[in-house]
């Protein structure tokens, strides 16, 4: 992915840092940047972009791929520094800090750390010490990439300077732009399919583009769709998400993640029920045994985490879309059955819990019902959910309408039914407002 689209904010930060580095009178406002996101979202490409800028401006830069430098981060740093300066002291051999200080005496330096999530405790400590001891040097600019969040809480001087940015998939417009800029432009219909399938996830886009261009696959035909899905499964899921998992465990994690991709917000209860209903072979011996499941998946894949905004566990959006796509295309009946199950379960939970939690369950119930419009029970189910929504007291109802208005994904899956739903909500909202006005 050598083409840059939709990364303007990140590039602006980098440009600004370079301008400051080159100008002795200015200070770098963001001396330490961390790019976060799933594999294939474009972190490494951003680092490469920085490296390219260094080459263009002849600034020395150190590139440490932690995943590749598992043996000795310090050694990697020192070795690279030696390319720019004449250091041969024993202190420098042992201390990357000293080596970097020597280099910094010559002028601005850029350090790039990729795959920081792979760092073990010792490696993190080495990086932490290095950044801490060099944090006061105004000529140092550091960019890191990681799948996991970076906090450096123990190193306050680093934490204060760290600016983190989460990389998102492309939106439709940027995806179009990205596809247009390819060497071999694709037809609009195919571009549309690529976006529908990948939801702007760069790694998945590239897999599809390569398959379409190099293997001449047509995503409009069923046989080629199967091949494409197989490629996405292999190159995105197996080679990236599940790359660190033992072969014998891959099927387990694949199934679990695929299931947990369905709910936009999940909890332990939903996780257990999903597994026991749809993959009973993964069933654990007791409820409590599911307690470790989120942590196990996170440790192994980095794609499941607690999402504060959604107040639930969620699989990272780009990966979630791929998992859902695969199942929807390969096993549609199972796909719809899971949505149907979640629509019912969320509705049931909404009936059992109070307050804002109930509103959330209702919204999720509506989402899963709308994801299954082909179901023979769809109309009935939709009516039931809407009735529950309309029966809410004014405050929770207002909460529902506010959240609904901001929920683009839900509105998209409602498709042709959106107008009807919106109209019902508006009518009820007006009635509430009228009632309030009368009072």
């Amino acid at each position: 992915m050598d083409l840059f689209v939709n990364r303007e904010p990140e590039l602006e930060l980098i440009d600004e840092a370079f301008n400051a580095l080159m100008n002795k009178k200015r200070l770098v406002r963001t001396p330490l940047i961390g790019f976060l996101g799933v594999s294939g979202i474009g972190k490494t490409f951003l680092l490469r972009r920085v490296a390219q800028r260094c080459q263009d401006t002849q600034l020395p830069y150190i590139w440490v791929d932690v995943d590749q430098a598992t043996a000795n981060v310090a050694h990697t740093i020192i070795t690279q520094i030696k390319q720019y300066t004449q250091i041969d002291t024993s202190a420098s051999e042992q201390s990357p800090v000293h080596a970097a200080q020597v280099l910094l005496q010559q002028g601005p330096v850029v350090m790039l750390f990729d795959s920081v999530e792979m760092a073990n405790t010792d490696q993190l400590s080495t990086i932490g010490t290095l950044l801490r001891d060099l944090s006061d040097d105004e000529k140092l600019f550091v960019v890191m990439a990681s799948k996991k969040s970076l906090s450096f809480q123990h190193e306050r001087s680093i934490a204060r300077k760290l600016t983190t940015l989460s990389l998102k998939p492309f939106d439709r417009e940027k995806c179009e732009l990205y596809l247009e800029r390819q060497d071999q432009p694709t037809e609009p219909e195919i571009r549309n399919i690529i976006f529908e399938w990948t939801r702007g996830y760069p790694l998945a886009i590239n897999v599809m583009i390569n398959a379409i261009t190099e293997r001449q696959l047509d995503p409009r035909t069923e046989p080629d769709q199967k091949v494409l899905l197989s490629l996405l499964t292999e190159e995105v899921i197996h080679q990236k998400v599940l790359v660190n998992i033992k072969p014998e465990d891959k099927a387990y994690y694949f199934s679990a993640l695929q299931l947990f991709s369905f709910p936009r917000r999940s909890n332990l209860v939903l996780m257990q029920d999903l597994i026991e209903t749809f993959t009973p072979e993964l069933k654990r011996e007791s409820s409590l045994a599911y307690f470790s499941l989120p942590r196990a998946i996170t440790e192994a894949t980095d794609v499941l985490s607690w999402n504060m905004a959604r107040a639930g566990f969620a699989v990272d959006e780009p990966i979630r879309n791929i998992f859902l796509l695969i199942l929807k295309k390969e096993q549609p009946s199972r796909y719809f059955a899971i949505h149907d199950f979640l629509a019912r379960t969320n509705l049931q939970l909404a009936a059992e819990v109070p307050g804002s939690d109930r509103v959330r369950y209702l919204r999720e119930s509506l989402y899963h019902a709308a994801s299954n419009t082909g179901s023979p029970h769809f109309s009935e189910q939709l009516a039931e959910i809407l009735q529950a929504v309309l029966q809410e007291a004014p405050d929770p109802f207002l909460q529902f309408t506010e959240e609904f208005s901001q929920d683009e994904e839900l509105k998209e899956v409602l498709g042709p039914y959106l107008a009807t739903v919106q109209s019902m909500l508006d009518t009820h909202l007006n009635a509430i407002n009228d009632h309030e006005a009368e009072r």
Partner: protein
Amino acid sequence: MMYKQQHIDHFIGRSQEISTFVHWLTNPISPWILYIHDAAEEANKKGGVGKTWLLRRCAELTRQRRQDTTAVVVIDFFNVGDRDGILLAEKIMTNLQEIYPVWSPSTFTEAIQQYRIEERQIADSGSSESAARDIIFAALVEDLHLLNEHLAKTQKTLVVFFDTFELIEQNPGVAVLRQSQTFPDNYQLERMKVVIAGRNKLDWTHPNWIGREQEVQVMPLAPFSLQEMQEYVKAELIYDFLPQSRQAHALYERTEGRPILIGLAIDVLNNRIQTIDDLISVAQDKFEAYLVPQVNRLENPLNWVILFMAHVYHRFNIPIFESILQSVALDSAIQTINRETLLSILPQLSFVRQAGSSEDFVLHDEMRRLVTRYCWEVQDPDQRFRKAISSRVIEYYEQELTHIPNEQQRQIFIVETLYHRLYVDLDDGLPYFQQHFYSALRLRNTSFARLLFQEVQKFSSLLSPAQLNDLHYAEAVLLRTEENVSAALEILHRLKNTADPQWYEENQPLVLTQEGRCYQRQSKFLEATNSFMQCLEIQRSRGDELQCAHLLNNLGVIFRRSSQFATALKYYEESIALYKKLGRQSDYATALNGSSTVYRLQGKTEEALRRCKIAWRIRRDLFREDKVSEVQIGLSLDTLGRNYLDAGNIINAEQYFKEAFDIYLRANYKGGIATIYNRFGLVQLAKGELESAREWFARAQHASQEIDAEQYIDSLNQQGEICIQLQKKKEATVFFEQAITYARRAIDYYQQVENLIGLAKALDPLEQGERIQQVLQEAEDIATRESYFNLLGQIEQTRGEISYYSKEYSTAFLHFARYCHHMAIYNATEFKVAVRQVVDALLGIPTADVPLIAQELLTYWSTQQLDTKYPEFMLAFGEIDNLMEV
């Protein structure tokens, strides 16, 4: 690390409150109690304002700055054990001993050890948990007497800090040793100060606090000010945070200055979960709900611990954690928190409290509420995970309960087990509650019963109407056992009026029995009789002979106490017959003993002695068979002594009292010992040895203080009476006034009236005539309301005597006539005595006045239509009228 705790040495803010505390501590005339509570009025704004931190800081400051002059003890009612008067006293003593190694609470330690040995047999000993507590208290007072001297000499003060008072605010009596003591217990230490932190304002209408405003200095605690929040944020946040910035104001608005929320916000920011701008974009009313669920990030195992702690709730330690973890599938790749790491991390969490020196931890109660509301309810809406955790905890407790030698600890574990049993399954937990609750009440272990009750109360919203009625009934029984009979009656009446008909029909006998016992305790004999009679009718229709026997025995006691001896005997006889039929030997002996007292009061000494001796014999046999304690034999010996004393056989009486005394001494039965001191006083009175009698009553007073209210009041009354006889009337008033105060506190109307009469007799009619009338009027009002005919008679006798000595004979004899009238209703024996006394009085007035007064007496009797029913009066005064016509 997340959730980092601010160190006590780097305490932030609260300078004004600390200054108030220091001033309170050092000011010799400040009230001895400092009460800190949330300034907020709304319940949902309370909690998490930093009371615990302030309290700990104050304790730490006291330790640091006043090491030479103060001893510090910190108690947290969050710990179940701290809510038990005995454990609490033990804890305070242990701390005191550490501070004063030269002092040793040896008597107290011995009493505790004895208590531990005997506690499982308390029921059989005829004693009770409350009596055991009184024994421990007496021992404690003895030890503290020495410490008091030491404190005075060294000018040292004991400062006790009580946290989480809201957990016992409804029943602060659970944390004191003696039932009659108010909270906080001062253990009779003269140099003691107390700081209490509670969520709510003090309720000055609560019996514990009535009239005590002068003892307490109140300090409302508001959340952090903006400046304090800024100090806190500056110290903890790793990023630059500009004071007075828009962000600072917005964060303050959203956290409302509550340290617990500020702490969580800092964690979110430090962990880069959100930026400050993201955080303050959340609306204020949603802020709490937005912030707290970060604990749901289960990828951090520390959050597991917080979630577990929020549910496990009472205590959390490594074995419990490991027990829960046994059920959590731990994938080999996962490195979970090890024991050492956990032990080092937990005390550093700002919302975790460590229980004393043990390795038990508890979550701050406000944090527990937040985690339960915003994490568990989201994570586990149908409670299956929490139930699974509870099941593991139950297993842990059950395992522990098999080898806990300490009864107190066992009780705490039972309380904690109860919570989890109820959580897993109400239908399993409620029988468990009933089993332990009623067993505790049988032992009069009200502290344990109260703790059990508090746990069930937490589930009241989940109970069915019938289960809720059972719970209300249990509360009434508990309150009655705690001697709070008015509150018990209120609940029983509510049950009668509002419980569903089916439940009430099934449980009516229980409710009526409790109601009767409450009335009996209040000496409301008519109401008590009514309740027992209704109950008796039901039990007869149900054919429950044992319950009938108990009720009949109770009725016997009531009629005996109201001196309706014939009726009393009738009920005793019926109860005796039933007990005999049912083979209930111990109950049979008790009823026989009761009937013996009736015969004694009737002057039927031989019948009384026979019954008493049979009961004595049965009890001796049962004692040999190890079926009752020796104290039961002592009770029979006491009754025997009373019989001999009333019969004028002072030597035998004294002998039996001595034997009873020996038994009570052996059993360390303090209440019994005090009773026998009073008996020895009566023996001396019978011998005419007033001074010696007075000494015994004084000894009884000392021995019964805080141990047996009835004997205590009786000893005061007897001393007052002796003072009157010795013409030391001023001294007498002191005794009677003291007795009246105690009788009011114990809600014993009968003794209250007795002593009001005594007081009237002790006051000088010339100087305090008006007060005498007031006192007698108060006595008459109560006696009329409660139908105490003998006391009404005594009131009229007293009024008559006052007029008699003023030579207002017409008025005097009108009162005497009323005296006889009341005694006629009361019983035949006392009526005869009354007539004889009035005859003597009549013959004491000038001869010329006799015929007129005699005529007035006869006219009164006829006008009241008493002449037919009680002809003895007409005969006596008709004869005088006739004979004096010479």
